[in-house]
Symmetry: C2
Subunit: 371 residues, 2 copies
């Protein structure tokens, strides 16, 4: 089989895991962060630059690609890898999250979801079968089941009904999925209710799949609830399958996710805040747009050795960003992705040496959130 997960070790002092994920487009070391390329491009970056910053796998969005340019066109191009000139692994989400968060006038039935495009208002219908059809056309290495991600807060009965339907949809997804060179992941839902999370884990893992994702977190709930539900959920998941925490990507959340046994993460955060002129540094997240950096001729992060930090000053990058110059967005995006992927590399190293808790402590001693 072209897809395999090897759990290399678990940290002696925590639930942090070190692993390897084999796909048709190569191996991924876990825990891993996956940069997001919503529209078949990680915003501002070339594939070569993604490799330079250490990206081993990227994520792209079924919802967006289905609407434009269309999955049929991408299939004609030879699939998403060929279309966008990226030869490493790709994961596509199912479109579920975007249908529920971006589109208008959705109607949910057992059959699927009717929604209006956020772009032109046109009507569309996506069922589990359709979501799989689109993802088979795109040809990613890892594809996701079509699920409903309830908002926060949502009441118990709604979340329960929703997760039951998500499980029924998962079975239809598995049925519809016929490509042998793609791994289908199921998604655990259940909101902030532990018994529903347990129910969702039980039903989802009854379907034998190569990996499981945790959805419905980081949707507006307080951090302590998120970490609590996450910890509870991972404790129920099979140890021999990769766990993917969807839509999570602050440096702190990556560390807290790994601590609780997560193997994979994705988030638009590093690329999105970069385009607003915000960057990660050893000491926290700073906004280089701010006037105080106008004549600051030091690098974004003096402790970083990325291309941006080796060659450009805060003053220059601030100038570029204030002028809406594309190079500014490129330099901050490059740095933020490098920062997160370097963080993951150091996390893997720490787990390998049974020092993850020390690494985490050291990280927080310096990193102070927004600065």
């Amino acid at each position: 089989m072209s897809f395999e997960f090897r759990l290399l070790k678990t940290d002696s002092n925590s639930k942090a895991r070190l692993g390897e994920l084999y796909t048709p487009h190569g191996k991924i070391e876990t825990p891993i962060f996956m940069p997001v390329g919503t529209q078949a491009t990680v915003k501002t970056m070339t594939p070569e630059e993604l490799k330079e910053v250490g990206a081993q796998i990227i994520l792209s969005n079924t919802y967006h690609l289905y609407l434009r340019p269309g999955h049929e066109l991408i299939k004609k191009a030879g699939g998403l890898h060929s279309f966008m000139n990226w030869d490493r692994p790709i994961l596509t989400d199912s479109g579920g999250f975007q249908v529920f968060s971006l589109s208008d006038l959705r109607e949910i039935t057992e059959e699927g979801v009717t929604f209006r495009s956020h772009i032109d208002g046109s009507y569309h219908f996506i069922s589990p079968e359709k979501a799989i059809e689109i993802q088979m056309a795109l040809g990613a290495d890892i594809i996701m089941a079509f699920d409903e991600c309830p908002p926060y807060p949502a009441d118990y009965d709604y979340v329960k009904e929703s997760l039951k339907r998500t499980t029924r949809w998962l079975k239809r997804c598995k049925e519809a999925h016929t490509r042998k060179d793609q791994a289908l992941f199921g998604i655990i839902q259940g909101g902030m209710y532990k018994d529903l999370r347990e129910e969702s884990v039980k039903e989802t893992t009854e379907v034998d799949l190569p990996g499981y994702a945790i959805g419905g977190l980081s949707v507006g709930e307080p951090k302590d609830i998120m970490y609590d539900i996450l910890e509870y959920t991972t404790s129920l998941l099979p140890v021999d399958k990769p766990r993917y925490l969807m839509g999570v990507g602050t440096p702190e959340d990556l560390i807290e996710g790994v601590l609780r046994g997560v193997d994979m993460f994705d988030c638009v955060l590093p690329t999105r805040i970069a385009r607003n002129g915000s960057v990660f540094t050893k000491f926290g997240q700073m906004t280089v747009r701010n006037a105080k950096y106008e004549a600051d001729f030091t690098p974004l992060d003096p402790y970083c050795d990325c291309y941006t930090c080796r060659n450009y000053t805060r003053a220059y990058i601030r100038h570029l960003i204030k002028r809406n110059e594309i190079l500014g967005l490129r330099l901050t995006t490059y740095h933020n992705l490098y920062f997160l992927l370097k963080l993951m590399e150091r996390i893997r190293e720490a787990i390998r040496e049974d020092k993850f808790l020390e690494y985490r402590e050291e990280f927080y001693r310096q990193y102070k959130g927004k600065i």
Copy 2:
């Protein structure tokens, strides 16, 4: 002296010239096209990419840098080269052209020009001395005298009066210019009047300068008039000094300019049309945004070997540009600059082999303007 022009040869069958221009930041081979980096960045490009496409020198804009971030800040950064991380030659214009074309409410007196910023309406005054002060702070290798560029059409008396003032301003520029590591170029004006061009050449070249620019062309006049005035003007200029035709940059105009003895060109055209989804190809300028390229899986220019054409299809680039994805603008910009700089390289090769006229004929056999 750190600045020197060597005329290596003139084509046996035309006025096309091959030369070398030595500057404090290295040698430039002429004829050359200079990409424009208005705000201390050639839009979308890193310095490394500029080198990859073959840029030997770039141009930046005094008017824009004076307004934002300010020449004093750039001076503090160690000058423009250091600020923007570009170690090859830079030419700065004097700001004259932008003051007259972009700003509001200008008042021209013998002393200088009062204008309102096109950004925030603030009042500013630029004199020849001020233009030189700013350019000395920026620290480019080649700097330009402060001139007035009359619009087209403009009446004889106005153009005559204007060029006389431009000459007086040139003398003040030379007086004010004290940096020995910069070459000050004078600018020939005179509109579409041959006797005024002659007068301008005579007066301007009486001031001993390391190079002369031809301004006031490509301002809306018909092509045949432009070529006629250009040919007349270059015929009057000293052979041992570089001639720089300002603001000209279509492939055809570069060839016609070289034919008439021009050594240097600059233009925002290749980078600007790139951002509108238009690209140069062997057969003409095409708009990859167009619907007909939606499922076209060939390169922008099948005869081009640049990074863009080696790795991406028209279909993908069209998708990116239609979605306003930055990578699309990067790929078209990269290609267009590569195309023009490769054209110049081939032109130099043709002159070296006394085959410029053949090369020009071959070029036009294939290149059909907008396609």
